[in-house]
């Protein structure tokens, strides 16, 4: 498209695999059932565990009657705070040791009589079958002394306190005098939005199979972070990290819900230790709701002032979210407002209120997903106020540099994204008057919103091994959470080494492998790619070293930079050697290259870089809805997302990620909410029947486009695509509904009762 980054482009012919729509390498294993997930590993003497959940929000267990449960044939043990072996307490959260962030909550399960939320596990039943364990769990009878509890977010919100910032997340910003500018603005909107809590609903409910052999632990677990999980378990169970092997080759969806260590994992390991049996704890869907954190609810104020030309003069965005009293963190809800619009006066604040509820946790674009709903809804409302086109209003306020920090953008092609999107979506056909567009009786509405998610990366250790026949094994403990993580690294290695894709095998999901990056923050692909690129360069250097020393090699004496890796070997012009020939001539069975990550050095560099660049994935979301004028049912009828996500490595899996984010955004917009009873903090809808994720019939064909311009500051120019798709999506729906009906819904989800 542009020649902006021409100098960074490789002068070689286009890559063979990178950028192509390559089928995921694990597709066959998954569709045939050959791929085993955490709850699918058989052991001959495997026992099964089930959780008993507290039914009060806060208090103490005064007695716990397990007699009836123990009497059920097939019950092996019932573990409670009265008899369970003690775990060590969770480590205190410290930014000096990032692995401490992995505690879902600070509760020392079964080592305390305290109840901190309605649903906290208070006992574990271990039995010969899962059915027996679940039945016996229903017979455990705890008695409680209840204590007063604060569980109602709306009621407790006035008690919120300012959210603390950290090295990696700023929680406030001030530029100019936004309140004064707002007061003076000829055009203004000042809106308060609310978003509800959301629960994790990965297709694979959390599951653990724990096997102790003396003081050695083997753990089959679906996790997004093997190294931190292992370190956490070593701390909790008082064994060296090396004594623990975590196996997580396939994870049935993560979305952030498998990024932390939750009760089920700890209690499976504890139960296995207590009973001396391998133990599987496959959580029921309801147990996932009760023990795995979800997305915080929020209340947000967005106030915008503009002059008559539609130039923003003031941007105020404040948020209140909640944490659990025993865990969870504030989210970067207003962070997007730092970066999107060139307002001279900006005021951003975030606060949190701790409640007697399960800790909140990461969920796909924590902060940005709900923050963009509020900001982008308000911008749309300002467009109505001004009588301006919402796309034009955004373009009029597109900044040249970061509006708060003043840094340059590493990559920012929102103008191009909107231009392409408007063209493809037929934005010009939009009659701007509310309710003016119809399809039969249906009211038709079109809305847009900007997507934004910061681009970050961490480091990865990678080992490459090339055998005498030229086949390659990439070893990196990365996490295959269903996104094609291993496939894209195989594509990269195949291109870098010039070998066929099917000669590359990626070993992943095992703590015995060199530690990979976490699968979170949209950072895994870029982080692992940097390691793979470095390891490939190192391997080629080694191979060239071998060739240069070989007396008959056409590569004798050549520098590494010169030869081209292609056709299974190294070549210069028409001359060169295959890897097999190089290895044979050198008398080697294989060569290896290892790259080890240095997190501290990397973090220092990253923080320095942040002063120079603001890095992000961005996009333009276009949504069309149809609204039934009698019942006000909203159905999404068309969708287009145009994304600026750097260079795309796999056209198929990247599009799936972006599409999946949009689907989750449509759910957020129209139907998803965790209902928490204001009287006792109980989750009322802990099931897929009553917690409404979108079904197929709710989702139209989603057209996903990307600009495919490499980000010069990222490995191969790629930007992570895991989260940006959900951002802006709910606002695009809300804005389309506004267009169709004339009604601005400020409170998610947009259920029909809010439109009647």
């Amino acid at each position: 498209m542009s020649t902006k980054y021409a100098e960074t482009e490789q002068a070689t012919a286009g890559p063979k695999y990178v950028g192509r729509a390559v089928d995921r390498l694990d597709g066959r294993a998954k569709t045939t059932g050959e791929a085993r997930f955490a709850a699918e590993h058989p052991y001959p003497d495997l026992a099964h565990a089930a959780l008993v959940h507290a039914t009060i929000p806060r208090g103490r267990i005064t007695a716990i009657d397990t007699a009836e449960a123990r009497a059920v044939p097939g019950v092996i043990d019932v573990l409670t705070h009265e008899n369970a072996p003690a775990m060590k307490p969770a480590p205190k959260v410290s930014f000096l040791d990032l692995s401490t962030l992995v505690s879902g909550t600070s509760v020392n399960y079964l080592a305390t009589d305290e109840v901190h939320w309605n649903g906290q596990p208070v006992a574990v039943v271990v039995a010969e079958t899962p059915e027996t364990a679940r039945y016996a769990a229903s017979l455990v009878r705890p008695a409680y002394q209840e204590l007063p509890a604060a569980v109602d977010f709306a009621a407790e919100e006035p008690n919120a306190v300012p959210q603390k910032g950290s090295l990696i997340a700023e929680t406030k910003a001030d530029k100019g005098d936004a309140p004064a500018a707002l007061a003076a603005a000829p055009y203004a909107v000042d809106l308060t939005f609310t978003t509800p809590p959301h629960s994790h609903n990965a297709i694979e409910p959390h599951a653990t199979t724990a096997v102790w052999d003396g003081d050695k632990l083997t753990l089959h677990e679906g996790t997004q972070n093997i190294p931190w999980l292992r370190k956490h378990l070593a701390q909790r169970f008082g064994v060296p990290e090396k004594a623990i092997r975590v196996l997580s080759p396939y994870v049935g969806g993560g979305f952030g819900g498998k990024g932390s260590v939750w009760a089920g994992t700890l209690l499976a390991v504890l139960a296995a230790r207590a009973t001396g049996r391998p133990v599987r704890l496959a959580l029921t869907r309801a147990s996932v709701y009760h023990t795995v954190g979800g997305r915080t609810p929020s209340t947000q104020r967005v106030a915008l002032g503009a002059d008559a030309d539609g130039r923003l003069t003031a941007l105020i965005h404040t948020s209140v979210s909640r944490t659990g009293r025993t865990g969870g963190m504030g989210e970067q809800i207003t962070a997007v407002s730092r970066h999107l619009y060139a307002a001279p006066n900006i005021h951003l604040r975030q606060s949190t209120v701790p409640l007697d509820l399960l800790a909140n946790t990461f969920m796909r674009a924590p902060g940005e997903s709900i923050g963009t709903f509020a900001l982008e809804s308000a911008v749309d409302e300002l467009a109505w106020e001004l009588g301006a086109d919402p796309v034009e209003l955004r373009m009029r306020n597109e900044p040249e540099r970061d509006p708060v920090g003043g840094q340059r953008f590493a990559q920012r092609m929102l103008r191009e994204a909107y231009a392409l999107g408007a063209e493809r979506f037929g934005w010009r056909e939009r009659d701007p008057r509310p309710g003016a567009m119809r399809d039969g009786r249906w009211l038709v509405g079109m809305g847009v919103a900007t997507a934004y998610h910061p681009s970050i990366r961490m480091t990865a250790s990678v080992t490459l091994r090339m055998a005498a026949d030229g086949t390659v094994v990439v070893r990196c403990g990365l996490h295959e959470i269903g996104v094609g993580a291993a496939t894209v690294q195989a594509q990269i290695a195949a291109d870098e080494l010039g070998v066929p894709l099917d000669s590359v095998r990626v070993e992943h999901g095992d703590s015995d492998l060199p530690p990979g990056p976490q699968a979170g923050g949209s950072m895994q692909t870029a982080s692992a790619a940097a390691g793979v690129l470095a390891a490939c360069a190192k391997l080629k250097r080694t191979l060239l070293g071998l060739a240069r020393r070989a007396p008959d090699s056409p590569l004798r004496g050549r520098r590494l930079e010169e030869p081209e890796a292609r056709d299974g070997g190294l070549y210069l012009g028409g001359r060169g050697q295959t890897y097999a020939e190089i290895l044979a001539a050198a008398g080697r069975t294989h060569v290896e290259a290892a790259v080890k990550s240095n997190t501290l050095r990397f973090l220092t560099r990253t923080l320095r870089e942040r002063r120079k660049w603001v890095k992000a994935a961005t996009g333009a979301q276009f949504c069309e809805v149809r609204v039934d004028p009698d019942t006000m049912e909203v159905r999404v009828s068309r969708w287009l997302g145009v994304f600026d996500v750097g260079r795309v490595i796999n056209a198929k899996t990247a599009a799936s990620q972006l599409r999946g984010g949009i689907v989750m955004g449509i759910g957020m917009a129209l139907s998803e909410q965790t209902l928490i009873d204001h009287r006792d903090g109980r989750i009322v809808n802990p099931s897929l029947s009553e917690y409404h994720v979108p079904v197929h019939a709710d989702i139209p064909r989603i057209d996903v486009r990307y600009l495919d311009e490499p980000d010069p500051t990222m490995p191969l120019g790629l930007i992570g695509v895991g989260e940006v798709g959900i951002t802006g999506a709910a606002a695009a729906v809300a804005n389309a509904v506004r267009h169709a009906t004339g009604k601005r819904v400020l409170d998610l989800p947009i259920t029909l009762d809010k439109l009647l």
């Binding site: 039914t55 059915e131 679940r134 039945y135 229903s138 009698d630 019942t631 049912e633 159905r635 129209l670 139907s671 209902l675 009873d677 009287r679 109980r682 009322v684 809808n685 099931s687 029947s689 009553e690 409404h692 979108p694 079904v695 197929h696 019939a697 709710d698 259920t751 029909l752 009762d753 009647l756």
Partner: protein, 330 residues
């Protein structure tokens, strides 16, 4: 799951005998609701009498153009039956609006009639629920009740009857055939389910051992239609549903049947609205007025107050659609 005895009789008499003599016996049809409830410990039968081996799985013609539907006919089979689709589109549409394809393949007609409410407090053993545990109270009345009933409610219970199929059957004047220890009997569908009153745990007119064997449909000459309003396009219970049949002659309502789902504690035949409509003009104002009169009896909570207006709008729209798509013909 709590241990239980399992028997699978091969004829109706044996099934009735087994269920009547074993205390705490339950019939098992498709199992799409009973098994869930047993897993949750809400249903706790000592004996499960599996009736899926009984010869009750056919749809037969009745003299005069009606149909007799065996109690074990699967929901998906009934929805696809050519006679049902041609003569009772409202029933086919209602069936297809329910649950998911997988559940419809399992669920039976008899089981569908007997499915229990999806009130979340009924499902959660930690909550107070008069239906699950008589006398324990009702957490829904002051809790989340957006999905709850506004018609036929009591101080004890506001749980919604969840069936779509039964709403269509209520509109169609269906009759339920029951076999009990004292032989067969027939119960009009509209009398089959009970209002909660002070005994929300008693949901139907069935006694111990009573087995639903079939549902009879009288002939229908009016055009019919089922409209379900819900929070997502599929696999969600109705906020409001309307089963309607309408025949218009010279601009006047010659025949009308109207039943409501999602808003009542049982499949709700809207007799008051029908009475007002019959013989009157077949226009939007009349439809709306009749709907408003029917819903005047609504008893709402803050969470479900929207349902009254939504029901009026949905009734009006459904009748309007029936007039515009051939309310005079079948």
């Amino acid at each position: 799951m709590r241990p239980f005895a399992y028997v699978k009789p091969t004829d109706v008499e044996a099934a009735v005998r087994a269920a009547a003599t074993e205390p705490g016996a339950k019939y098992l049809g498709g199992g799409t609701n009973l098994v869930d409830l047993m897993r949750e410990g809400i249903e706790r039968p000592d004996t499960v009498v599996d009736v899926t081996g009984l010869p009750l799985d056919t749809v037969e013609e009745l003299p005069g153009g009606g149909l007799r539907i065996g109690a074990l006919v699967r929901n998906s089979v009934l929805a696809a039956d050519g006679r049902v689709r041609a003569r009772y589109p409202v029933l086919s549409q209602a069936l297809l609006a329910g649950a998911s394809a997988q559940l419809r393949n399992m669920a039976t007609v008899g089981g569908n009639l007997l499915q229990r409410t999806r009130c979340p407090y009924f499902y959660d053993g930690a909550s107070a629920c008069n239906k699950r545990e008589p006398g324990s109270g009702c957490d829904a009345i002051d809790g989340f009740n957006r999905g709850h009933a506004i018609l036929g409610v009591s101080e004890s219970c506001i749980a919604t009857h969840p069936s779509d199929m039964a709403v269509a059957l209520a509109a169609l004047d269906a009759v339920v055939e029951v076999r009990g220890v004292n032989g067969p009997r027939r119960i009009p569908l509209t009398d089959f389910h009970r209002l909660p009153g002070h005994t929300p745990e008693i949901e139907t007119e069935l006694g111990p051992g009573d087995l639903v064997t079939a549902v009879e449909l009288p002939p229908l000459t009016a055009a019919s239609r089922y409209r379900k309003v819900r929070d997502r396009a599929s696999y969600a219970f109705a906020l409001v549903s309307v089963a309607a049949a309408l025949r218009v002659q010279d601009g006047t309502v010659a025949e009308v049947r109207l039943a409501l789902g999602g808003v009542a504690t049982k499949p709700w035949r809207a007799r008051e609205a029908e009475r007002i409509l019959l013989g009157g003009p077949a226009d939007e104002a009349a439809f709306r007025h009749a709907a408003e009169v029917e819903l005047a009896a609504a008893s709402v909570r803050p969470g479900n107050a929207f349902k009254a207006g939504l029901a009026v709008a949905t009734i009006t729209a459904t009748l309007r659609e029936l007039t515009s798509t051939g309310g005079t013909a079948r």
